[in-house]
Amino acid sequence: MRQKKDLLLAFGVNVVVVSFAEEEYALNYQMEVDLGWPLAVDPNRKMYEYFGLGRASFWDVWGPSAWWAYLKEMLRGNMPQPTGGDVYQRGGDVLIDPQGIVRFHKVGRGPGDRPAVDSILEVVQRYNCSAPQQ
């Protein structure tokens, strides 16, 4: 996704990464990976709950699709690091349009289950084309 940052910007999409980690831990992470987007913290997971991002199952986290996702990351040179975080918390993606309406919503099943950036841009393009001209 970071590789398509320019494309997201070109489409006028503002990305905000949300984490349930404590602020200090999140800050370290942001510096380590050079995130490039604002990192918001939701340690009480209120937004996670609001958007229906609940608990993953054992197989979602440790099943073959998870291992496949980790393997692909390792082949890209990103070695998984040990974490003290809650590995069962689901991630997800929410796209909100300029009128404040949710236009895309996905609950991640497990590691690596993210929509392609192209599919996000497709939604943006579709709504931009159908939105009334001002």
Binding site: V16, V17, A21, P38, E49, D86, Q89, I96, V102, V124
Partner: protein, 86 residues
């Protein structure tokens, strides 16, 4: 919280709530089961769905800024909810 009206499923999976019927794949659903004083099971449905306006929110960023619904009015906002950071 939206009261759970019924769950209907034949060949496809649908949730029906708030006077609307919604295919499961277009809804993120959390069902909470409560027991009242008569030990009667009641359920409520937290239904987050597309084409709805989410409740106003604000989140603090690591650089001390507060991001809120209003900060992004008039702009597309893509919230990427991380799993654990590693």
């Amino acid at each position: 919280m939206i009261p759970l009206f019924k769950y209907a499923g034949k060949s496809a999976c649908f949730w029906q709530a708030d006077g609307l019927e919604l295919p499961c794949e277009r809804a993120a659903i959390t069902v909470r089961i409560h027991f009242n004083y008569q030990n009667q099971e009641t359920m409520s449905l937290h239904l987050t769905r597309i084409d709805r306006r989410p409740k106003p929110f604000s989140l603090a960023t690591t650089n001390g800024k507060i991001l809120s619904t209003e900060s992004y009015r008039g702009r597309w906002l893509y919230l990427v909810f991380h799993r654990h950071l590693a």
